[in-house]
Symmetry: C2
Subunit: 587 residues, 2 copies
């Protein structure tokens, strides 16, 4: 879906949207941080995000990778910027070809500035944004929706504001879908800009661009650089607090939300935030304006869908990767089509390797390594390893090799049970509570829209010793409603289900729809997952320690001796999965 | 699946099976009656049924049609008999080709007797059953499983009993899968027969053939005709009651079940009943022996699956034909594949006409016409029409044009509500009660095997006047959990759902399986069904009356003015579909 269609969708339901702009960081560490932010901010459900383009293609590789990954792994609708100054025809084609092949469907077409410094200049194949739009349209047909920049205070190089708007009209006539404005602080300038646009007949959506003031220095630098007007009231308010970062930030959020409200009342269809790759001021502004829905109740699936072409029909995934969704996406990226409605029957999963997944694997980054040592320590006993797992459940540490994201909200229903399990040597890495006919708009377990009912079979997945496993297998014999599958790194496997069995563990029933079963447990994928899960002990955890050190040996031993076990309680009405474990005796 | 595989399946679970033999009736009326019996007896879930073959192919057409229809419409595994005496090569080929093309996978290969009377004789292409088996194997490879007849008391033409068993051994060696014996009453003869078989090395299953004594005259005629031994004890028991049909019948059932028990204790893998196309004695025998499971809890789907090749993956159907399953099968017979797992998404239903369905449409049979006039009368008012529908719900009449079978057991949960609806002008033709997590072995609503949970959204479908419909549509506005779709014969349509919507109304959740949703409500099929449903008013009901008579005009008016309406209560947890109707005011 094009961004224009999404904008029109919001218009139809009378709801303002918001969008976020990011730039490609210069360092790998900056890139890592931006990925974490994108992941979190995707949860706010922006209408789209956009990634800027360095002059002359200086950031081409990063801009393209970021755009592709944001769309693929974070389920964001991405618009990529493209500038033409200092770009050869070959560079333009290469950028657009790659964007197209990554599923990007919108381009912000800009003239751009000349590349500065030591990067050198290349002759420009195209010199103006109008020609760029025409060239894209001519060469790529309707592959891309196109956005253009608008300048409420006039472009610095324009003869007059009227001239600038006439030029904007030409860009729109050349094929632009919508306009995103340069930032501004003077609402009166914006109002006049809108009037000029109306006068020349620009009728497409105009989205105001907004910069939250985050620190006085940055604000000062930015307004000087761009030369935009700052109303005296803002100067007056900032002057007395300029040295107090906290106060400046709070004022920034206050000002930003006041401005946003006025912009919406002036008819803005949505709000475009220049995030400067930061998160909190934008989030606070949106909270203040009450624009953040409870996304859980709006999500269409319990997992976040990818926006890549061809994955749109995907509506069932194995549960095993639910705490490592990016790994799942990476490993299934080459699939031509996705299981639609059911995982089983004719479906034979062939999972790719984790090669594409480098960005998320950060074991070699010294800062990351140090942080992990702090989180997980240098355990000397299985008990100390178990403590790390228990602490993850308690929210005391926010990352384990098997869990990319902190504990999910819904887990709060079972957190104390999980802690007990971990303390007793069942090192949990995935779980879901039992849910029997919860309303589909429940804040913790809801998905799929209103009016439906949500179900979950209780699920728990853990590493444990052979001794613990054998005791469980004995107890399973007396509990026919339990399914269990255990497997060691070496492939020693014990299962109550046959190899073909596929079990739905999350499903929803909705008015006027077929049953939706987005999460399943199946033996085939479990065997693939177990290789990844066992490797993580070595690649992510053991790698922190010197070879043959005490901790290194301990993790090696766990990797070799433990079993990975998944347990499903099929009686989602009256069952209690924890009763299976001896440590819940008497429950 | 071949019958031998099914026999081995029963053996594996240590359960005796039973099978029924029928012969092709000579009259159309007899054929109609047999279809009704087959339909009911299929509910007992025999391992297979077999259809006999008239000497010289005299019943070829009927035997083939019966075999095909039993397999297709009643979900029975059919074995067709084939005799070779008096049959040309062309006739043999034609019979086997047709059987193969109808999905028949088992043939009982027999020599047969010479055709009698005025049918004339044709030179036999093959003269012995052994040659017939060899010829089938040679020409049809493994297309068919093959059964042969065994004669516990020796074939009348055999030199000795030993000779007869040696011949049987040759038939088995030629490729027979199993043996079905001729009937007998002397268990000692059967025991000796088994011993002889063992001696010559016959190791395939031997299924004893059993004839329940139904009337003294028939018994007398049959034993005289076949010349089989009747132990003196049976003569002694029958003699004093020979003129009392009821007593003979009861004795027959008693004797039959005693014999069956002994046969099983002698190691019979199953019991083959010569039904003589009758039902009750066989059913009673099986009941007495406790061999009838509650079939509901064993059925794999809520509807009876067809045994035709290619339909084995079928696991979802629209609800509309649930009271006319044969019509649904006939209209979808040309489909290359069946919706697997879901009805919606890419599925575009193209339904065939009802041409193949002639056997079930009996409007022109005078006996049928007279019976229907008795059932439905000659209504003079809409009220009198409604009474017929109410009487159907109450079980007072057992057939309506829209309902091929009497009211289903599960309907007893809602029968009084349905009667109220009919008395208030909502002429119900289909419905199901709301079911929230019933155990999958519930006797009335269970299916799919043990350990699961069954769900149903309450459903009701009816004809009603435009006035009633408009009142309902008003009330629907205040009941968001209700979906409704109404349509007139002319196509005037009112729906709360879009045309693409598909709603699961029956589903089951089972250990180690994906969600199964065998019944859906969808707009597209509803529009196809409504043509059939409205036509039935004219073809099946109005056709009983003289043109322009009072009843003829009444049915014409209902056909033209009424709407066909389906209603789904999506809240299967707390909803009450009947609250929608004004006649349940205050409920």
């Amino acid at each position: 879906m094009r961004i224009l269609d999404r904008i029109n969708g919001y218009k139809k339901i009378g709801k303002p949207f918001f969008s976020f702009e990011y730039f490609p960081p210069k360092t790998e560490s900056g890139l890592h941080n931006l990925y974490s932010r994108l992941d979190r901010m995707a949860g706010l459900e922006p209408c789209f995000i956009d990634i800027t383009w360095g002059a002359g293609g200086s950031t081409a590789e990063t801009s393209l990778t970021l755009s592709k990954d944001a769309q693929t792994y974070f389920g964001l609708n991405v618009m990529m910027h493209l500038t033409c100054i200092g770009m050869s025809e070959e560079k333009l084609r290469s950028a657009l070809d790659q964007a197209r092949d990554s599923g990007i469907r919108d381009i912000m077409a800009l003239r751009g500035d000349s590349p500065r410094g030591d990067r050198g200049t290349e002759p420009s194949f195209i010199e103006s944004s109008i020609d760029l739009i025409r060239w894209i349209k001519k060469n790529y047909g309707n592959t891309f929706g196109i956005a253009v920049g608008g300048y409420p205070e006039g472009h610095p190089e324009a003869k007059s504001k009227d001239d600038c708007v006439s030029f904007l009209k030409k860009k729109v006539d050349a094929g632009a879908d919508f306009v995103v404005t340069q930032l501004f602080f003077d609402l009166e300038e914006y109002r006049l800009f809108l009037a000029r646009c109306a006068k020349v007949g620009i009728t497409c959506p105009i989205i105001p661009g907004i910069l939250p003031i985050i620190s006085f220095d940055r604000f000062q630098k930015f307004t000087e650089f761009t030369g935009i007007k700052v109303p005296p009231a803002i100067h007056a308010a900032l002057d007395p607090i300029r040295t107090d970062d906290e106060k400046v930030r709070n004022y920034g959020v206050e000002l930003c939300s006041t401005m946003c409200k006025e912009l919406l009342s002036l008819g803005a269809p949505g709000l475009h935030f220049y995030t400067l790759n930061l998160e909190s001021s934008v989030t606070e502004t949106l909270q203040k304006m009450d624009l953040l829905d409870d996304c859980r109740t709006r999500r269409s699936m319990p997992w976040r869908a990818s926006k890549v072409d061809g994955r749109k029909d995907e509506d069932v995934r194995p549960i095993f990767w639910s705490n490592r969704p990016k790994s799942y996406l990476a490993r299934t990226m080459t699939w031509d089509d996705f299981p639609n409605g059911r995982w089983g029957s004719s479906f034979s999963p062939t999972f790719g390797s984790l090669n594409d997944y480098y960005i998320f694997r950060r074991g070699h980054d010294p800062a990351v390594r140090e942080n992990r040592l702090k989180l997980w320590g240098s355990p000397k006993s299985e008990k100390e390893v178990a403590d790390a797992f228990a602490n993850f459940c308690l929210g005391k540490i926010n990352f384990l090799p098997w869990c990319e994201m902190p504990v999910q909200i819904e887990t709060s229903r079972i957190v104390s049970d999980l802690v007990t399990l971990n303390q007793n040597g069942y090192l949990t890495i995935n779980s879901q509570p039992q849910v029997n006919a919860a309303p589909s708009d429940s804040p913790d377990v809801g998905w799929g829209g209103p009016g439906g009912f949500i179900y979950q079979k209780a699920y728990v997945e853990f590493f444990t010793s052979k001794e613990n496993l054998l005791a469980l297998l004995e107890r399973v014999k007396e509990t026919p409603s339990i399914s269990i599958h255990a497997i060691s790194a070496a492939g020693d496997s014990h299962s109550t289900l046959d190899d073909q069995a596929v079990s739905a563990v999350t499903w929803g029933v909705f008015p006027g729809r077929e049953i939706i079963q987005p999460t399943v447990v199946d033996s085939k994928s479990f065997k693939i997952w177990k290789d990844e899960a066992f490797d993580l002990w070595l690649d992510e955890w053991r790698a922190l320690y010197a070879k043959d050190s005490e901790s290194w040996n301990l993790i090696s031993r766990i990797h070799g001796d433990y079993f990975l076990v998944n347990v499903v309680e099929n009686d989602f009405v009256n069952g209690d999965i924890y009763k299976l474990f001896p440590c819940f005796k008497g429950r």
